[in-house]
């Protein structure tokens, strides 16, 4: 493979995406349309996130890619390989060492810093889409901050299940103004978005939308006074590192129902295991 521009996209495309990003940063939580390009990966593989990463990536950056919290799924491995090949940037599995982290489904457990950017791959950017299929109407609702309908959805959840049953893509209000879908991260991760020192960028390739949460911006999960938002995690300790406050994956250990719970953030877990071993 040769003849590519740095990070695959040509400079005018990157400028167009950067303009969309700047606008998104200026209006936190607002979805900005952009001219999404064909990427050498199918939709659903994070083409929106990849384009955002390509537009903000510099030669000195260190890139980490996670998928479901893990650095070594096929998706994460191939996106890292893509940028190593097309941009020659260093890649890492360490949250601490990364300057740009592209993610699907998780926010790292280790708190992020001001000098880091978190890029989310977003399949469905419109939080109101399932409630109101008419695009002109959802646009109007955003323009007027007319979000009663989203609370109706949460109301219906409680009326049906006794609690808010939404555990992924849990809707948030950004900067007390725009309703935003945080992409399919677990609701457990929502509080990490609030006042995060790192810049958060969201790219939806198929839907051609970019949105952003600038550093230190308020991000609040929608709820009711008498049914407050609760970040839910499995009530266990990580089998490997013993953590009781991280998001856990359930892993089957055999085919007769044996199962353990381990951190979904593999980098965080192995760091904790290393510290534990060093202490012993």
């Amino acid at each position: 493979m040769s003849g590519y521009n740095f990070a695959y996209l040509d400079e005018s495309t990157k400028r167009m995406i950067r303009r969309a990003i700047l606008k998104a940063v200026a209006i936190p939580g607002h979805q900005v349309p952009f001219g999404s390009r064909e990427m050498p990966l199918p939709y659903g593989w994070g083409t929106g996130g990849i384009q955002v990463t390509a537009a903000v990536l510099g030669p000195a950056d260190v890139l980490k890619v996670i998928d479901q919290g893990s650095d070594d799924t096929t998706n994460a491995v191939s996106i890292r390989a893509f940028f190593r090949r097309t941009a020659g940037v260093a890649t890492t599995e360490s949250t601490e060492a990364a300057t740009i982290i592209q993610t699907r489904h998780r926010i790292p457990e280790r708190p992020l810093r001001e000098d880091q950017i978190l890029v989310y791959q977003v399949p469905i950017p419109e939080p109101l889409g399932r409630l109101e299929p008419r695009i002109a109407e959802t646009r109007r609702m955003h323009a007027m901050a007319d979000y009663g309908l989203m609370h109706v959805k949460l109301y219906e959840d409680i009326a049906r299940h006794g609690h808010i049953a939404t555990s992924y893509s849990y809707p948030v209000m950004v900067n007390s103004r725009y309703l935003m879908s945080p992409s399919p991260i677990p609701a457990f991760d929502n509080p990490k978005m609030d006042q995060m020192p790192a810049l958060q960028l969201f790219g939806a390739g198929r839907e051609k939308r970019i949105y952003a949460v600038p550093p230190y911006t308020s991000v609040k999960s929608l709820d009711f006074d008498d049914h407050p938002f609760r970040p839910i995690r499995a009530p266990h300790a990580c089998e490997l590192c013993g953590s009781r406050d991280t998001y856990l994956d359930e892993v089957l250990t055999d085919d007769v129902g044996g199962r353990i719970f381990v951190c979904s953030d593999t980098d965080f877990c192995s760091e904790r295991q290393a510290v534990k071993e060093a202490a012993e």
């Binding site: 009663g148 109706v152 006074d225």
Partner: protein, 290 residues
């Protein structure tokens, strides 16, 4: 409370006496929830010279109308006479070619869409002929009633449910059916649910477009009685479009008769129906009696 018998054939006493009441301040009323004093003298909604053409058809032709607090005004007229168009223009859903609409001194046609939508979900209500146009069919009855509360900032689930139960009771729906979707309700119940969903924010002015239109005669009568009781208790102003002269007689203090986009006659309901002046009104009234 002034419980009224639902069998009286006469409308609740009009807040306004005399013909051409638009120019006379309505007399003060002792009636409860009726907003006596100054409020009753200032019209809620005023429109002047509304004109709207669809190609060669004049859907509205120089229409004037005033609606006072607590007043029920009926618009009657044959199909295509411009009744729905008038409601849509007055509520800001549609722009006229010319004319003015003012709500409590605010220019309805000139206000931002945000301001108009705020009015629409607080001080105004719109009850559609087809409940599907006014309800969210996939959302429970409680959620339908709660929507306007949540849209205006209600964030206490328990209070929202209490309100939903209260309003279901007021429209004579068993509150234990709060978690059912409207599709499971009869047509009359759906229409009552639509009314509950509208009244929950205690609007000042409700537009109703043939609210009993698609219903059986017996169901219509019950719904009209309910509307009459609610309107009296809550001191609502209502602009109601109807084909049904009997419904206008039952509910309305005043009525406007429309034909080809023109208000051919207006006045106190009893006066218009008992002593119609315009030949078209005479025809309308006699065809009902025949």
């Amino acid at each position: 409370m002034n419980e009224r018998s639902s069998k009286t054939p006469h409308p609740i006493p009009p807040p306004q006496a005399g013909e051409g009441g638009a120019h006379l301040p309505p007399p003060l009323l002792a009636g409860e929830g009726r907003g006596g004093g100054l409020a009753a003298q200032t019209p809620l909604l005023t429109a002047r010279d509304l004109t709207l053409r669809f190609g060669r058809i004049a859907a509205l032709d120089s229409v004037d109308i005033d609606i006072h607090p607590g007043e029920v005004v009926a618009i009657v007229g044959e199909s295509g006479s411009g009744k729905t168009t008038l409601l849509r223009v007055l509520s800001g859903l549609m722009r006229p070619d010319a004319g003015e609409v003012s709500y409590l001194g605010q220019d309805v046609l000139g206000m931002t869409e945000a301001a108009r939508r705020r009015l629409m979900r607080t001080e105004w209500g719109f009850v559609h002929q087809n409940p599907r146009d006014g309800l969210r069919m996939a959302v429970s009855a409680g959620g339908n009633i709660g929507e306007r509360l949540m849209a205006t900032g209600a964030r206490h689930y328990g209070n929202i449910r209490d309100q939903a139960a209260h309003w279901l009771t007021r429209v004579e729906i068993d509150p234990t059916r709060m978690d059912e979707v409207p599709a499971k309700f009869s047509g009359g119940m759906q229409q009552r649910l639509q009314i509950a969903r509208t009244l929950v924010t205690l609007p000042k002015l409700v537009f109703m477009d043939e609210p009993t239109g698609g219903l059986d005669v017996s169901v219509q009568a019950r719904l009209l009685d309910l509307i009459r009781a609610l309107v009296a208790d809550l001191g609502l102003a209502v602009l109601i479009v109807t084909h049904d002269i009997a419904a206008a007689r039952l509910l309305a203090h005043r009525m406007l008769v429309m034909r080809h986009g023109v208000v051919v006659e207006s006045g106190l309901t009893d006066r218009v129906l008992d002593d119609p002046q315009h030949p078209y009104t005479q025809l309308l009234v006699s065809s009902v009696l025949a």
